[in-house]
Symmetry: C2
Subunit: 390 residues, 2 copies
């Protein structure tokens, strides 16, 4: 791995602290409630202790949502009914504060950063031809690696260098946000067509068939769904052939990676999967997730795009999984496949399929609430409440 | 129904506004996201419009949690391992701000009111023998109807007059909270042993067998579980016999009630079920729910205790159901039975079984978020975002 923010994050990453988790569960049993009565929140509070390496863990007060935006050459295959310009138009909408993620971030007290890591068309100017003025607390980070990926049905999404540049962009942003006081990271994404590369990556890294992990994205017909499955199958075959050729030529991509059993094509590294099947925003999200974990922050993960990135991150650095909180179960089947592969259970299941980070953002009060319970609840002793009659 | 706050609320109750819901769904389709991509939040936003009778609905800014506390004579049967004094001790804990509901209410920006509607033992004094000083924004409402219910295995929980007094206490509090600016009501409860009367009411009003709706409450052994099922079966037989005797004597309780098909014993009115099987906090919660609905506020409902109250309320006034938002699915089987009977789907499913209003409170950001999306998201037109290519 070449030097840079992503390599730094990988080097800094440590396993979550099992002892802190044990202390948290012991503490839960002394709080004024029946043991176990807070259900999933008790396990979540223990995870937050493990993430922070201390019990009780700090209560997140400054959650950040990073919305990574990129375009996808595979759109040329007709996998989505939405025009490519919508990615850039939505970036403008994020900066103006009018998108769903803006509304939900305001609701949960998070701030939003928009990252152009691979948008293909210009972000529309605001009134008077100026850049769209960013709303209060909103900003655009310009980290464009290239103007959208290649069409993965026929060519690599990006080069290995471009993948590393996008990983660096994500890890760099995580470090910057931590420097600004962010204490919880939320994943967000925007990119017309991006459920296609996400499903391809999930298939490649979990060993599932394309059809099993392909979903309806923003809402497509049966006909387009069949086309999409075929496109993903072609992309997977192409990537596998490229990996075999690369391995034969002794030219496998960099990282001395941990390759979990899920990776189908022998010799394929997670970085090669990422470069072949792509998504610049997916690569940046993988960097962001590792960056957050390296800083010992909880990373609340959204849907299938973020989960594809988490599979890449976990394949490179399995310790990252201890830092992930799955915000919700998206309706995309690839999301469920990735959750199962990562062995993490989502907090919410509300039928969302929007992306942007919306499902993850909605879970922030649950995460903060779990931390607060551990910090703020009275113990039986302190409150003078009788315990169980034995 | 005798005159009073509960009768007033029943008289004021109107059906939720289907036209406002329709407008909300049409508005959702113009917002900058694929149609339907916000899943359950879109339906929730439409319900909130129906509740308020206007689209977009107001965004709740002052949610109130009322924790109704009462004791249960049936504790004498050994249905819970916790001593009865814990109810009063937890009231003190609520007032000191140290319980789970206090922590979660702070997290979601709600204020907490504790209502003694039937606590059997004195609330412990604070240091120096004084009343426990209530924490900031916390207060105790003294509406004690009687010092705990009768033992429902052998006698009625309360008289019809006492049931009405508790219903009035709940409806009165709802009206007071509305007067103070509360714009969303959350149900809360405390009462050692209260899953027993709740399960009994759920069985009586849904026609399910006691065993199907009985749960482990705060956590009981297999042996105590069998005892609890037996106690509930005895209570149901006794209540049925009392209803038959009452009907024969022409002495059926007041209300000219709508009696849904779920009510098993012919001639049993919802009020008779409530008085026989009781729970003073359950009765007060039924009044509170109807009071909130009458004021056209969304009422976010917690677990099996609140849902038993909602079954009573819905049996008396079916229009109340349109105002209910099920915050979560408790692990108590009676909760799921009640949710199915009321035909409402919970928002969260986190394995909670604490009560106090904790699961409902955790859903408040989802409710507020759903309302905000409808109010604050940009439309395709306004944001200059392209719509679907046709």
């Amino acid at each position: 791995m070449r030097a840079g923010p992503f390599a730094d994050a990988l080097a800094a990453l440590r396993p979550a602290d099992a002892e802190a988790a044990r202390l948290a569960l012991a503490r839960q049993d002394r709080l004024t409630k029946p043991a176990g009565a807070l259900g999933r929140l008790e396990a979540l509070s223990a995870q937050l202790a493990a993430v922070a390496g201390t019990c009780p863990p700090p209560v997140p007060v400054r959650p950040a949502v990073a919305v990574f935006a990129g375009d996808h050459g595979v759109l040329a295959e007709g996998v989505s009914p939405w025009p490519q310009e919508v990615t850039a138009q939505m970036v403008a909408n994020f900066l103006a504060g009018g998108a769903a993620i803006n509304v939900l971030a305001r609701e949960v007290g998070a701030f939003v950063v928009v990252v152009d890591v691979g948008v293909a068309t210009p972000v529309p100017a605001g009134p008077g031809g100026h850049d769209v003025p960013a709303g209060e607390g909103l900003r655009l980070v310009k980290s464009n690696v290239r103007l959208g990926t290649g069409n993965i049905a026929v060519e690599p999404a990006m080069t290995g260098d471009e993948a590393l540049a996008a990983l660096d962009a994500g890890a760099r942003l995580a470090a910057e946000l931590v420097g600004e006081g962010a204490d919880l990271l939320v994943t967000g994404d925007m990119g017309i067509g991006n459920t296609t590369p996400s499903a391809a990556i999930v298939a490649a890294l979990t060993g599932r068939a394309a059809r099993e992990v392909t979903g309806r994205g923003t809402g497509i017909s049966d006909e387009v769904f069949e086309l999409k499955v075929g496109v993903i199958e072609r992309a997977l075959l192409r990537a596998e052939a490229a990996a075999a050729a690369g391995a034969a030529a002794g030219a496998a991509a960099g990282a001395a990676a941990a390759t979990p059993s899920g990776i189908t094509a022998a010799g394929t590294t997670p970085l090669a999967v990422l470069a072949e099947l792509g998504g610049l925003e997916i690569a940046a999200l993988a960097g962001y997730v590792v960056g957050g974990a390296a800083a010992r922050l909880p990373v609340v993960v959204d849907g299938v795009i973020a989960l594809a990135a988490c599979l890449v991150a976990a394949a490179l650095a399995p310790d990252v999984v201890g830092y992930l909180v799955a915000g919700h179960r998206s309706t995309e089947p690839g999301a469920t496949a990735a959750l199962e592969s990562l062995r993490i259970e989502p907090l919410l299941d509300l039928g969302l399929r929007l992306g942007e980070g919306t499902g993850a953002c909605l879970a922030v009060p649950l995460v903060r609430g779990a931390a607060r319970l551990l910090s703020e609840m009275a113990s039986f002793d302190a409150a003078g409440v009788s315990t169980l009659e034995s």
